[in-house]
Assembly symmetry: D3
Homo-oligomer: 317 residues x 6
């Protein structure tokens, strides 16, 4: 079975019921979020052996994170920290036109001090692929340096490096992001990038296909996947360009959609799926994610297959 390792920050997600503001809610629903863990869970549930690497505070909140991932089959390799805290985000989900509102409280997280020396390296150098995102280098200078080193270790050991740009304007500005990413992308084999990020951060002002071709050339990528939100996604592997539209959903919770896409894509691609199949698994997993509360794509392979079937049956009875 192919193996995938991801490295990054996870946060406690504390959400109000959909119709209730933070000022008046009596309860908060507890979930665990974080792009890399989201990808790991989606991929594991869809058939890839995954390991999540990180640094966490040695508190019941930190254990909550590993407990959650383990319950979905993901292995965890964690450097436990006596001092730091677990990043948190508060979510007020809301229907339109109120929309969802997020209050971040992620300063001082343990992972911000993670160095390559203290992190478990085995799951990275032994995996078939390593997944990191642009969120991690944005969190601290230490993490920017650590991210570069881990990508480098992976490459040196034959592990395919997968990078999702995932620009976050709350964490850094486009100029700093561009500089840092410029240093990381030469270590990358497979790139996921939103068309919007390609424009704002990488400075590409073309259409999606041209962006995919250009970034592949510029960084000598094995594969580039350009996503456009509801307009679908496009993959280019140096030869073919394949496009895939999204699947209509009754959305319950949109957070984690992009990560579900990556997890579904990789689950197919790492088992030698074609670009077509991988894109389909990506959009199907993303669509299923949107029907589930929480950041995690708690889907089963049979559900992906049902979504992609020509004529999905109603309730089976």
């Amino acid at each position: 079975m192919p193996e995938l390792t991801s490295f990054g920050e996870s946060l406690l997600r504390l959400a109000t019921p959909p119709e209730t503001p933070l000022e008046t809610t009596d309860t908060l629903d507890v979930h665990v979020g974080g792009a890399e863990g989201n990808v790991a869970v989606a991929a594991q549930r869809l058939g890839i052996e995954t390991t999540w690497v990180s640094k966490l505070p040695s508190t019941p909140l930190g254990k909550r994170v590993t407990s959650t991932y383990r319950s979905h089959g993901v292995s965890t390799a964690v450097q436990w920290d006596e001092g730091g805290r677990l990043g948190t985000y508060y979510l007020e989900p809301g229907s339109e036109p109120r929309g969802s509102n997020v209050v971040y409280d992620r300063g001082g997280a343990s992972i911000r001090t993670a160095t390559p020396d203290e992190l478990p390296i085995d799951p990275i150098v032994n995996a078939d692929a390593l997944h990191v995102t642009g969120i991690t280098p944005a969190l601290s200078d230490t993490l920017a340096s650590t991210t570069e080193r881990l990508l480098s270790y992976a490459r040196d050991n034959g592990t395919t490096t997968v990078f999702d740009v995932n620009y976050r304007s709350n964490l850094w500005d486009t100029k700093t992001a561009a500089e840092t990413l410029g240093g990381l992308l030469p270590q990358v084999d497979v790139l996921f990038v939103a068309l919007r990020d390609a424009r704002q951060v990488l400075g590409y002002d073309q259409g999606p296909e041209a962006v995919a071709r250009r970034v592949t050339d510029e960084y000598d990528l094995e594969l580039a996947v350009v996503t456009q939100g509801e307009a679908g996604a496009l993959a280019y592997d140096g030869e073919a360009v394949v496009e895939q539209s999204t699947i209509p959903t009754e959305t319950v919770d949109a957070i984690g959609t992009g990560d579900a896409f990556v997890g579904g894509f990789l689950a197919a691609w790492l088992t030698n799926g074609t670009l077509e199949t991988s894109l389909k698994w990506g959009v199907a997993t993303a669509a299923l994610k949107r029907t589930i509360t929480g950041d995690l794509a708690l889907v089963r392979p049979s559900q992906v297959e049902r979504v992609l079937a020509e004529d999905p049956p109603k309730i089976d009875r």
Copy 2:
């Protein structure tokens, strides 16, 4: 007041919250389901005196079933079983494209051993109408035989027999179903059948009106009602053919829609409603059911009337 008796299996329905899979849910919502009980509750609430006949395990779970039906006014006539169990089904409701998922756990249910001798017969032979469905004979050979005997008793005593085909591919194949139903239909006065079942099980490949006419001729029916899901329903009483489209709904829970239709239809028809009125009450009850969680159509006559009114008012204040 006209009287209706139904006979069949009820199950405990254990449902996750809509956004949560069975693997992670902390709670299950408890309801009682089962086609014949669903029909009984709908009809009773809409003005018919109904009795539900069955065999149940003599446990708090079995009592739960009668307690639920009684709370809605239905009388219960039950053979209590010391040994068997209560069939159960687990429901994961989900929005599209995930859809709802059902895990059946109905093996070994007490009713599967029910014989005509042990069941209370009075409520059947004294009623104006007896309602059974094709689910019951599918559950065991004993029940196939019992169903036939009860239909026969009813007929012999002047009770109108109502049969809803309700084919369930989880319980038997179309061939076995066709054979068994072939033996039962000659005892039937009023038939409800989905167009899909008419095709798959009865082997009729015509349109709905032709199906209604043909089945009426073939089995000398008093009335045939052919349903087509969202495409509405059609009734034929040997003279007139009446069609009725469905009513648009914001669906909360689709399970039990068909039974609500039958219950609403019978509530009107058994009080000498016309075919037009009966179909309207059927589709209105079905539409209302879809706005309520659980298998039961917890509707009031005033709500049916409001739905069927030309210009329903907003909140009355």
Copy 3:
């Protein structure tokens, strides 16, 4: 900061979960409702200093009302009553075609005996504006008289009087309402009236603009705002007529929409907003209200601004 005082009845709102009828629900969600308090909370949260004046039973339920309003920043000036009760309404929210159902239980409420002598007058005569609705004079003869006296006190002290017709057919018939309102309107400076009420109660059968002009002339108003539900609203200040359409919403709870509109409108208008801005704030607050459970518009100014922005961002991260 401008000051607004409102006077009227508040009720305990006890609501079932959306999919559950009153006959079977195990829990009721507790909220506080009442048109004038709804307006006060919306205006206070959007930047106006507001005070709510009323008479309440001296019980934990009565204190619940002031506690709720105070938590949103509203000051409360209450005559405590040893004997009466708190009006209550039971709500069964439902999706279509079931719709929401309200069971009123508001007889014998303490406020029905409120006289001008016992009520706190300072917050009325010192405010910039006094808000009352047509619900209050409908509740009792005493209150009809009290309402007239309070409007008169306000006017005599330079407080702008704001009146929302809010006809309730459950409380009185159109003839009685027309007579009573005919006595009150000469004391009114700013009138809010639904087009439907203008027709049924005031007997105007023109279009909205003509109604606004006619009622302004007839009662020498400073400002008339005519609302038309989903068709938007229109304001006329003796010079200009300004129209505003509503904002599409995914509605969670429609109760209180009209009050949110008034609260949002007044928040802008009392801070010297133009008619255009005031109408925009009205419809934006109303739209936001519909995404929140409960009668109260628990919105923040930043949310109103987001709704009115040309290109509102997605989740900010």
Copy 4:
């Protein structure tokens, strides 16, 4: 099977979670309470055919009451009222030293206008026993008169009359109560009275046994049961005096304990149980009630038997 009919008021009980005051609770738990209905449910569940007679508002809240009783097997015979309301009480359960707090809101209830002519009389004159309490005549002059007439009807038709004094200082003073009860007790066969009420209302200042003997003599009773709260109960049937101590409990909800005692006692006594057995069933049912939230004694005969067993087993597995 012996038959018992009870007549009286039922109320909606709306309770906060145990640790939360009414001013801040977000939810209320819904139950149905009322002494006579409590007795009916306890007796029915323990094997007596019972009917509850009353007058209720024709609203979903009124239906809630009959739905609840019917779910426990009790038959209901109700005069539906278009105009009145359902009495309500709010409960703040609390541990010591806070204690539980009740806010009554029972004015204007439909039953207060119930006359003998409009009530269903069959279930009263045909029963083996009729149960009423001193709460009912306290609610209105009409009900005082109605209670007397119903007791008289019962007696005239050979139905044993059972009366529980149940003095409520919130409803009337001891002097009025004494006068009214003085008129009713001559119609009574079986009397339940708390020692405290015997002292405060009936003016007996002796010990429990003397009270039982004196009241039996004075009103020519068939049976007198004197209860003393945690000190147990005592029965006198003109011959023997039998005493019974209470059973220790971990109390979850004390409301309804006395009614559970009466229901358990009558369940045994009406099936020809001895005084000893009847008292034991009374105290066991009362003890079990205290472990269940809500006014109703949702117990099973097997649980009563387990409580009264010499050496009750632990969990049976």
Copy 5:
């Protein structure tokens, strides 16, 4: 009405259900805690006009704090901070021998940078009394200095200064605490100190009465109150020594007991209650607090009076 102002940190309290660890809980209950706010709420509800002064992040979480206090009648005077965060603590309540477990996450809180210049001073210099605790100077050097300045301002303006030692070993060691408190106590008029803190921090090794006398002499106090947990409390005003034992409780939530004691004591003492009365109100409020979930003493004066009554009645009905 006497006025009390308190100054200090408030935290978001996120608690699991009592039987569930943080690693597995699906929900957290939201409350607001913090010693000085707890005292303010208790005193306000018991009849003192109180104001709470602090610095909070300008987020919905910060607004939650003022919303909570305002709902209980407390005025809030807050410096809003654009940058910091709200301190949080996670609570796992547990019965014995597991006990309750707290995970603090209070680093980086906005209040840690609060200077006298930016805080609202009016509510401090105009109050009858100012309440601060030893937690505040422990949070940062800035706050140690600010605390001293506020005590000094208060004294200079005739406001009685009330100080509760409240030593927290998580925040500082006893040596640092002793030094800092040594600088603050000369500004204090009324001192609350746990006997344990008097020993560990102040270095007094006598019994409670001797401690009260010695600390009064040493710092020229107007009043010293020494608390001993379940062993009760003792007050010394330079003349009399009064002792008071605690009141037995069925404890639901012990957090905030000490603050409830101070709030109840001050509510009596600031209205010229005797030492005896003030101590009684302190222990009664503390006992009532323990029956309520959350840090706040949501009690009513009538409940304090009931607890202190000779023969408290059962449920009043």
Copy 6:
């Protein structure tokens, strides 16, 4: 790190809220139970690497079981079954004298057909210890035979065999149990037996110490632990006899206490703890379990240490 493997049945546990009977509950709380899984989770959380071996239906309910165990760090080695079902038990927790009531629904479970050939053997033959209980051979003849074979495999490969008698009268009678256990015990190294089971099943009528000595001699045990419920436990290793009393608890949920004892004992004993230490860890883990809802002992080593400390601190702050 020492390794422990357990083999046995797990069940879905569906529990009502403590105060609500199965007939009326609206929700059920979902947990996973089963003696061997309970032991595995306790031991894993306290520091032993554990693996749970079983056969489960290939449904979301079956996955729920592995997901739960994995979330607590336990590895799972499962034979997935396409056909069977997951055993279930319904729990009505109740305080005294009602007590808790269990309704078993465990017939037809997948594990009942588990043969040695289809089960994963590696985790058994490679572990330091194998844990099985007397429940497993009671479930079916196949399992009795499988249990014997697995014990034999373990012994042959140097794995210490641990057996907990755990007699269940619902599953078999004492005579059959005695015969079957007589065939298994010669394969056992470490025996846990309740004194009551030693008497009823093994026929030993001595005191606990004599039982421990006799059973050790008779079956050539390495270690015998005799438990006596609240009276504590006793261990005999062929040399010393050590006794340990239980720790007082405020019990929330007693189910799983015995398994927590075994898990805690083994966690210490397998890391070379003395008999004294192992018994202490057993009783401490058992006491902590009783404060947590669910069958699992969700404890942390620090909590065990706190319980065993001389002077456990209050909340650490």
